[in-house]
């Protein structure tokens, strides 16, 4: 099997919105923030649910230095380290969202050690910056290449290994107040495309 995409049924109810599709180039995780934030997200600092372009349109406003985090269950089987783009890879891996913040965002993949001792598990971390209050716009950011801690096992002779994306974390800079809505996460195939 070249790639495996599966939707875990044993994730927390909080991760119900983060489901894995069976095809590449489809949205792996989506949240329109119409459900109260405390139902699906963990957070710290000043995080509020606000209305945006319409009284029925809700979004998350993240205050200075605040964060919010959502559980993911995106698993990838990598079986051919020589084909880093993977067969069938076509459209890359990215995160896209709507925001009124005009600053330069940062996107990273970092180790995520829940549960303790888990191997090749990662968290996607998006840091928003700048000042809000302007018109809302769509932002799309490509995910970086797989970091070393998600690389192949050291032992020779392996056939395949699995990497796991277990959480997505949104943060703001120390002086930023950003509103975010319609968050989508796309994950395609290959070791560069995951």
């Amino acid at each position: 099997m070249k790639r495996l995409l599966a939707c875990s049924a044993v994730v927390l109810a909080a991760s119900a919105a983060g489901c894995l599709e069976t095809e590449d180039d489809t949205i792996q995780f989506s949240d329109d923030f119409e459900t109260p934030i405390y139902v699906n997200w963990l957070w710290g600092g000043d995080v509020q649910m606000v209305t945006t372009t319409h009284p029925g349109e809700h979004a998350a406003m993240i205050g200075p230095g605040a964060w919010m985090e959502h559980v993911l269950s995106i698993n990838r089987i990598v079986d051919d380290p020589d084909d880093q783009w993977g067969q069938g890879f076509s459209d890359g891996n990215w995160i896209e969202y709507t925001t009124d913040c005009t600053g330069r965002p940062a996107l990273a993949i970092e180790p995520f050690t829940i549960p303790p001792g888990a191997d090749r598990t990662a968290r996607i971390r998006l840091v928003l910056d700048g000042s809000g209050g302007g018109e809302f716009g769509r932002r799309k950011l490509m995910l970086p290449a797989l970091p070393a801690f998600l690389g192949p096992p050291d032992e020779p002779g392996y056939e395949e290994y699995m990497i796991q994306f277990r959480a997505v974390r949104l943060e703001t800079g120390p002086a930023a107040v950003c509103t975010i809505d319609n968050l989508h996460l796309m994950v395609s195939g290959g070791t560069l495309g995951y």
Partner: protein, 244 residues
Amino acid sequence: MATSIRPHVIGAALMLLAGTAAAQPLEPEAERPRDPYEPSVPYLAPPGEVGAGAGIDEIEPPPRHYRYHVGLTGALRFTSLDTHEAASTDQFLEYGWGDAHGPVMSTVGADVEFLLAPIVDLGLSISRGTGVHADTVGWMNHRVETTATQVAVVARLHWALGRPFLPEPRIDAGLVHRTVRLHDVDASDTLPYLRAGLDWRLGTRRGGVQVSAGYILTGRASSSRMLDPAIGGLDVGIGPYLRF
């Protein structure tokens, strides 16, 4: 003698009275109400149209002028042709909607006009249209449903003088109440509204079917952070009319 003559005198008097009554002309007919636009002198056709010596009864009477016009209209409004449509669609797409476009709004309306004002027919129109401006966010099948209710003053140039089949320019100026429904929540605003177009009456002077086409301009939302779906554009409608 006198006693024998009296019945004859009475009989003759009664016959005389009856004969006199029968000879008197009947009461003149009550005059029917005259149309103020009906000429007070008999209509005379131009020379050559009617033969010499033709009587008044052979001349076609002038057309009757009706006072009011009532019309119903079912219309389609092509909001993709609104000058504001591109900005409206961009706003939805920039917010993450998967499908956004200027929809064809289905509209129903009614209008009534007073026909005897100088130069133009003056009246009121009311109409209401609905459409879906955007749907689908990610996996979610949400929709942005827009309703526009217009109330306007109508002025229609009556150069056709009541004759059908001649297009008559028409302007509607008023207000539009726009309601945007999203996630089962309504938000409304009121904007200026202007429609300029033509009416064609396909039928008789009394009634028939009216075809209309026009272009609609509306105001914009007061804030660029608020949803501002386009509700103007080309409007094409058809419906019955009656004049009385």
